[in-house]
Amino acid sequence: MRVNCILSVDHLSMRFGGIVAVNDLSFTAERRKITALIGPNGAGKTTVFNCITGFYKPSGGTMRLTHDDGRAIQLERLNDFRISKQAKVARTFQNIRLFPGMTALENLMVAQHNALMRASGLTFLGLIGAPSWRTAEKRAIDLATLWLKRIGLLDRADDAAGNLPYGDQRRLEIARAMCTEPALLCLDEPAAGLNARESAGLSELLLSIRDDHGASILLIEHDMSVVMEISDHVVVMDYGVKIAEGSPREVRDDPRVIAAYLGADEEEAIAVMESGT
């Protein structure tokens, strides 16, 4: 069990003054699986994300990330950019945060910053145009091209990211996160604002990231069709605590989940949950 789980969150708490956003939350995310974190608005999902990705320092609890080679990292001890650089945790944002004035290709090049910094000899080798730098840069462009092809944006590689349609921006942000070559990919509502066709495309992309790239995915999502279709494991939160977890089917039938989503009226809730699948 321990070997198979990439992320284990234990007794995580996050308080903002008197408000307890996350209270004693424990869950695990398995390696090469898609774990979904769901819950009603204000349940504390994004706060959990911000703790895992180092944007918040948790008030208590531990988060252990175990890499393929058995190397374990306590995420709460790392801060800021080191979560991405050393722990290899990448994330996307609820409201898209691309670099709008840079092209799609440039966005993916920025994502490879740390690898390219090493290759450019901390800029000095790059400044004199050393051959090793040139090959590294070419490799980086190849990786970016590969991802542009995967998300179907190859023909818009040289367009400003801010000019792309909303759905394309969502996919580009995922591709940018993947260009950091992460072990754990955290997606904050990737299907928000997408139409049915785009959502289906997104599901396909996430499954292929899991299967072809061996990345583990942690997902916050409100679109139940996406959650139910692709998740291997679902954790349900409400008011900062975990109220249920299990396979999508188990969670869907859990009365506590239904109650959390739609108050006490279970029949109505069941109808909505089933229409989502």
Partner: protein, 446 residues
């Protein structure tokens, strides 16, 4: 601009009557005139002066006031008519392909042509010392602009104290040369390194600041450096400055009438213009070095990280980019070029004092960067030419040249709010490089 205009159909008021437009223009002009009347009634309408015994003498100047208000009235009508002629905001100009390709060619050709012309300036204007001196001045500001462009244009960090690094560079060279007799070519890199160190020192405390707060702290830093220079008399000579700074040598060969001078060695007659020409090419080389390094850096991960930082700092952190070192390198790089320019300034002048490093210099360099279009190398060069060269050009206009300057600024605000060259060129491309409109490019937040 030639070509017809296409207006989005919704923007065109459906057969707006001429009468209502005329009434609108008239009303607007009337309001402008009224505001002018209130403003100028005290500024122009009444003239005050201290009399011979200290009492207050005042007299009225109503004709001048009336003239001014009338001018504002007429000007307002003219501006509105101009706007009407231009069409509503958002009008797209349809330029014929022939003109478009000609414009594109002109845009591509302007940089090389400008460069060739700059190289030929000392040849063409060999006899005109004034032009050569002006050229050196313009190139100094081009270099300062390019240096500050790294910090403000690329990394999006508003730095109001850039002159501090210019001062550090100048005093580094002046003190090292006068106290230890080090040559210009040894001092030049040292001045750059020292200025870069000061850049890092400034960078550390301001890392957490953004926007207005960053601007204020950098402004204070610029003033602190100047005050230290004024008050540390034993080292810097205080307000008296440092004099007798050695002139640069051509790799050890002095440009003097002496027997070991360049003129004697080449067997030509000595002329003081030789040194001016040498200085011209020296600053040209330094400026081009700045430009070359900046262009290279933009295509390296560090340069892309600077621009990404300007676009979105939070996203940078999520991608594992170390914000601290990225900001510090931007400060250090910009400061280093400022230091080089400072060393050049010291060797050109032969004398430096704190008066040369006032806030006005910082503001001028920042204005050049903003005017040129943040991040654009060519824009900055053109802006420096316009600001420094243009200012000299209008010297004949006396006190009115500030007025011309103000009018130019207002026109620029209306038509080019993001600087002369507002669009951004991508640093890497797969198929073809297409300029990114300034609407998408962020200005940075501090």
């Amino acid at each position: 601009m030639t070509g017809e205009r296409v207006t989005a159909p919704t923007l065109e008021p459906a057969s707006a009557s001429r009468g209502s437009i005329a009434a609108f223009i008239f009303k607007k002009a009337l309001i402008s005139a009224l505001v002018a009347l209130v403003l100028f009634s005290l500024m122009i309408g009444i003239r005050t002066e201290a009399g011979p015994t200290g009492q207050l003498i005042y007299w009225t100047r109503f004709p001048e006031l009336a003239g001014m208000v009338a001018a504002v009235f007429a000007g307002s009508i003219a501006v509105e008519l101009l706007r009407l002629w231009w069409g509503p905001v958002g009008t797209v100009m349809v330029v014929p392909p022939k003109v478009q390709s000609a414009l594109a060619l002109a845009r591509r050709a302007i940089a090389p042509l400008l460069l060739i012309f700059t190289f030929l300036v000392p040849v063409i204007f060999y006899q005109q010392r004034y032009i050569l001196d002006l050229g050196i001045l313009v190139l100094t500001y081009v270099m300062l602009g390019w240096g500050l462009n790294v910090v403000v244009g690329l990394a999006g960090l508003l730095d109001l104290g850039y002159v501090a690094f210019y001062a550090v560079g100048a005093y580094s060279y002046a003190l090292l040369a006068t106290n230890f007799g080090l040559s210009f070519w040894i001092c030049l890199p040292l001045a750059g390194i020292l200025a870069a160190l000061w850049g890092v020192m400034l960078g550390f405390p301001v890392l957490r600041l953004r926007g207005d707060y960053l601007a204020i702290v950098t402004l204070a830093f610029g003033e602190i450096i100047r005050l230290v220079i004024i008050n540390w008399q034993s080292l810097t000579g205080g307000p008296n400055g440092v004099s007798g700074i050695p002139r640069p040598t051509l790799f050890g060969i002095p440009l003097t009438p002496a027997d070991d001078g360049l003129a004697a060695k080449l067997g030509i007659e000595f002329s003081p213009t030789h040194r001016i020409v040498f200085l011209f090419y020296l600053i040209l080389a330094l400026a081009l070095l700045t430009n070359w390094v900046t262009i290279r850096l933009r295509r390296l991960p560090i340069g892309r990280a600077w621009e990404a930082l300007r676009e979105d700092e939070v996203a940078c952190r999520a991608l594992g980019i170390n914000i601290t070192t990225t900001k510090l390198t931007a400060f250090a790089t910009g400061a280093m070029f400022g230091g080089f320019a400072g060393a050049f300034f010291a060797t050109r002048q032969g004398f430096i004092s704190p008066e040369s490093f006032t806030f006005q210099e910082s503001a001028l360099v920042l204005a050049i960067v903003v005017l040129g279009g943040m991040g654009s190398q060519l824009g900055v060069a053109l802006a420096a030419l316009a600001m420094i060269g243009g200012f000299e050009l209008f010297r004949g206009l006396d006190q009115y040249r500030m007025l011309v300057f103000g009018v130019a600024m207002v026109l620029l605000m209306i038509w080019r709010p993001r600087g002369l060259i507002g669009h951004r060129a991508p640093t890497v491309y797969l198929e073809h490089s297409q300029a990114i409109s300034s609407d998408l490019v962020k200005e940075g937040h501090g």
